[in-house]
């Protein structure tokens, strides 16, 4: 095994751990909606929410880094350039995440001055990490880019997937510089902040996961390079073509020019079309292999990725993306429902698939298939579908009673919060959240023990 693949395993461990922190913080946040006085004054809702959404970003980012560190040496048949620096930056990354989490838990906030921005919290959703940590993340991303580009140059070999990945790293790095707030006008600030959040999540990350999935398909199903690369180019073109200007679907209620609403609505309404093509492709791949593979969990998680992306981003997104609907649904639990489903389908399922691929290869297993992965798969997906269903009902109740009927007044907000549909949605979300957490526990148990516990599976290992 290459050193970079050992580094990948460390990244996967850190990623899976943060996935757990995200689940706990999510459960805590869901609890506050049902019991508003829970831990009041000790650990408030805003902090659990920050932990929930920031760990979401970091666990996926670590999962992406780990995936690239896992596949790249195989792609180029050599160790990564600057791997020592990559290893150091991994520990810097972990230490920074731990310190920032401790600050969020124990310090939480400070006076509105430069010191707070540098040491405690930058106060911008998803990128709340204090400035010193944000600088650290820039250095980590630059090191990662150096590892990838330097290795390609040293190897004197470029593949289509690698070209796409390297070109993607440029906006991925540059956009993060927007994490440092420089605007005092809130409209300007939010306008540029969305460039970072949207362009990461609906553009550069889509390309990054596309590259990772291309490698995963080659390893899992033996799909030829020409096929995955051709399909990658098409998907990247379509996803970027519809995703970049879809930015405008966030520009509600923040003072941006009106034309953005139509532009955003139009381009984001086109987004389901490439996703439909991806679903058809997934069925083709699954069918040509007769649903047979040496790594069942990875295979099923890849399928879940294609379907989850279509339903979460496509169906849930289209329901609310046209301006006349978005005007009312924006910022309600309806958006939260779409966000959960889309992140799950587009990214989380893919990263979990790579966890399983790495577990198989690192433990030398010929076959990965058992009962516990099925339980983990079932509970996680059932929990997620239940949560997004509950949030959808709560969000529609909010849009209906608070926005469309009540005119978005404070009184209407209070009325909507005590509406039985909204309350039922919040209770149901918490219940399904526990099911999701149970699924996470089973998933971790399976990943930690696969190939170690069942004699039948162990007997099939290459080592044996």
């Amino acid at each position: 095994m290459y050193r970079s693949q050992k580094l990948a395993l460390r990244y996967f461990t850190a990623s899976a751990t943060l996935f757990g922190v995200m689940v706990i913080a999510g459960l805590l946040s869901a609890t506050y909606y049902v019991f508003p006085h829970f831990l009041f004054g000790i650990f408030n809702f805003n902090m659990s929410k920050i932990l929930h959404i920031d760990t979401l970003i970091i666990w996926l980012l670590m999962g992406f880094f780990g995936s690239v560190y896992w596949f790249l040496p195989k792609e180029l048949n050599r160790e990564l350039e600057g791997i020592r620096l990559g290893e150091i930056m991994f520990w810097v990354f972990c230490a920074a995440v731990a310190v920032v989490a401790a600050i969020f838990i124990f310090v939480q906030y400070g006076p509105g001055d430069e010191t707070s921005l540098w040491l405690i919290n930058q106060g911008r959703k998803y990128v709340e990490a204090p400035r010193w940590a944000a600088i650290g993340i820039v250095l980590i991303v630059l090191t990662f880019a150096y590892n990838v580009i330097g290795t390609a140059i040293k190897a004197r070999r470029m593949t289509g997937i690698l070209w796409v990945l390297i070109l993607d790293l440029i906006p991925l790095t540059l956009l993060y510089l927007d994490a440092f707030p420089a605007q005092t006008n809130i409209s300007h600030d939010l306008y540029w902040w969305w460039w970072l959040v949207h362009m990461w999540v609906e553009a550069t990350w889509e390309v990054l996961i596309g590259c990772i999935m291309a490698w995963a398909l080659m390893e899992l199903l033996g799909t030829s390079r020409r096929i995955v690369e051709t399909w990658l180019y098409i998907e990247v073109m379509l996803v970027l073509g519809t995703g970049i200007l879809g930015l405008g679907h966030h520009y509600f209620w923040i003072g941006t020019p009106r034309y953005w609403l139509s532009i955003g609505g139009f381009f984001s309404a086109l987004e389901p079309l490439p996703l439909l093509g991806m679903v058809v492709h997934a069925i083709y791949d699954a069918g040509t292999h007769h649903m047979q593979t040496t790594n069942k969990p990875a295979f099923y998680w890849l399928l879940a990725e294609a379907f989850g992306n279509f339903i979460g981003a496509g169906v849930w997104g289209f329901m609310m993306t046209l301006p006349q609907i978005n005007l009312y649904s924006h910022g309600t639990q309806w958006t939260v429902s779409h966000g959960h489903f889309a992140f799950w389908g587009a990214y989380a399922c893919g990263v979990i698939a790579v966890f399983y691929l790495a577990a198989q290869r690192s433990r030398g297993l010929n076959m990965v298939d058992n009962r516990s992965w099925k339980w983990g798969f079932g509970l996680l997906n059932f929990g997620m579908v239940g949560m997004v269903g509950a949030l959808l009902i709560a969000g529609i109740a909010q849009a209906f009673f608070e926005r469309a009927e009540g005119g978005s007044t404070l009184q209407a907000f209070v009325v909507a919060q005590s509406n039985p549909w909204f309350e039922m949605g919040m209770y149901s979300r918490l219940a399904f959240g526990f099911i999701f957490a149970a699924g996470y526990t089973v998933l971790m148990y399976d990943l930690l023990t696969v190939g170690k516990r069942a004699p039948a599976v162990a007997a099939q290992s290459v080592a044996a």
Partner: protein, 99 residues
């Protein structure tokens, strides 16, 4: 937009994509496992998508621009699964020849 129209429009838009997706899934599954029945069910889903499109055009208060957009999208949904399928088959066929 009235509260009722808001919920009705949103549900119709969700159904529009869901029906299109179901058509793609069933069409693909029918082709790969050679089950004409699944392909027919897929076309039935596309029929539902057409009905949903008509309902959106006739019954929702969306502006005319969006109604035209939905109509054009409905045509695009009809073409994507067979076109993708043909492309995938040709790609795999060419690959099979070269390897």
């Amino acid at each position: 937009m009235t509260p009722d129209a808001l919920v009705f429009s949103a549900i119709m838009l969700g159904l529009f994509v869901l029906a299109g997706g179901s058509y793609g899934v069933l069409y693909g599954a029918g082709r790969i496992w050679r089950r004409p029945q699944l392909i027919k069910t897929g076309f039935a889903c596309y029929g539902i998508q057409v009905l949903v499109t008509l309902a959106i055009v006739a019954l929702t208060p969306l502006s005319i621009m969006w109604k035209v957009f939905i109509l054009l999208s409905c045509f695009a949904y009809a073409l994507i699964p067979p076109a993708t399928w043909r492309y995938l088959e040709r790609l795999h066929h060419t690959e099979g020849k070269t390897t």
